[in-house]
Symmetry: C2
Subunit: 236 residues, 2 copies
């Protein structure tokens, strides 16, 4: 069995999405016994300041310093590749990648590239206000040669309700609200929708969404397994 790299997970953003990402990496690594799995170290820093609130100027608490410190701790712990299972935090990707001496996987770029590989030309993005207003996915999609559509203001407010009022609060997702936003994007000609918030990945985990959705957390899990030198099973 080849020696795999140690995966560092910069997590807690939020914690349940991190737990799901960790589970996905394990479930989709080809392994016949414990010792075939990837060694990982996870910082689940739930108290990291809210990313969207800071990005939108609603809070002065800067999450970057906490993320940078935790990422350095992961490297000290032995991490050789870093994954951040939070799309909104990818607003800070370039600064973080520059500050950290090991490769940091770019979930947003990888997800846009996955949409291209699936044959999409026009995608919709369901994400936080922080991700949408900073054009995080819009820029990555353009770089990948994709048209990108986001919900209008009213539908985006529904997406935020599902993320914050439901999932981050430990409640079941309001699927009626979710589908109003999703149907708007399908109605605008999108062939597939990117789940561009790892809290929304938890909706897909419950089996509530079909194959037209590209789940950013699944894309990141696949990339992490490969980057650590292991073989992927059961994804895509």
């Amino acid at each position: 069995m080849e020696k795999s790299k140690v995966l560092g997970i910069l997590g807690g953003l939020g914690p349940m999405a991190t737990a799901y990402f960790y589970e996905l990496v394990i479930a989709h690594t080809v392994a016949a016994r414990d010792q075939d799995h990837i060694d990982m170290v996870i910082s689940s820093k739930a108290t990291t300041p809210d990313r969207t609130a800071y990005i939108l100027g609603e809070s002065a608490d800067d999450p970057f310093d906490v993320m940078e410190r935790e990422a350095h701790r992961l490297v000290t712990f032995g991490a050789e590749v870093i994954a951040i299972p939070c799309n909104t935090a990818h607003y800070f990707y370039t600064r973080l990648d520059a500050a950290i001496p090991v490769p940091v996987l770019n979930m947003v770029r990888l997800t846009a590239e996955k949409a291209v590989a699936k044959g999409c030309t026009r995608v919709g993005v369901l994400a936080t206000d922080g991700t949408v207003e900073t054009d995080t996915y819009q820029l990555a999609c353009r770089a990948a040669g994709l048209e990108c559509v986001v919900p209008d203001k009213a539908a985006q407010a529904l997406v935020m309700q599902v993320i914050y009022d439901d999932i981050k609060s430990g409640m079941p997702p309001n699927m009626a609200a979710f589908h109003i936003a999703a149907n708007q994007l399908f109605g605008a000609g999108c062939q597939c929708l990117i789940l561009g918030c790892t809290e929304l990945s938890l909706v897909k985990k419950q089996g509530l969404l079909d194959e037209r959705y590209i789940d950013s957390i699944e894309v990141l899990a696949e990339a992490a397994i490969v980057a650590c030198g292991k073989t992927v099973q059961g994804l895509y």
Copy 2:
């Protein structure tokens, strides 16, 4: 919101049980937003040598040195309380607890105490050969004032099949084999059975077991939440 302690999880023994433990801690912490959750750091050291193989003398690879080093790294990372979601590893509990400068929760002792709190006087234990042959639960149960029964040799072999050939190999559990062992213990007068291996907790997670089973991983999750200064919801 009170400042909670940082939980260190000495994990990867196996990895899927650790992911489940992490999920349980999150799901059962009273929290209305990400920042209400416990900050955690997890070492998912899947390549730690097999505990049962070492304990039974089938392998010279000593898992203790790896566990001790990872536990020290967790403390360096900021862990103030340590949880080990692996019953077999509790064979090394006393040495590890003595070596580490922060409290290490004792899952085996806590689970025996939970059985007493539930009103049991005679419990059965489903666990690995390593846990059974070292009397790990037998001693903890005696200290808690409980009678303790383990499967006979043939039934114990079935328990090991479910743990190693099924769950650790990523296969569905053979429930017929599981129930042969379980029914032997109920037939011996046990009022409840301790799931004394966190891989068996994954069987309960699938909704396949009733309330007569005391799940050591749930007991550890409850104790970890309390030890970190948070409030538990939805367990017991």
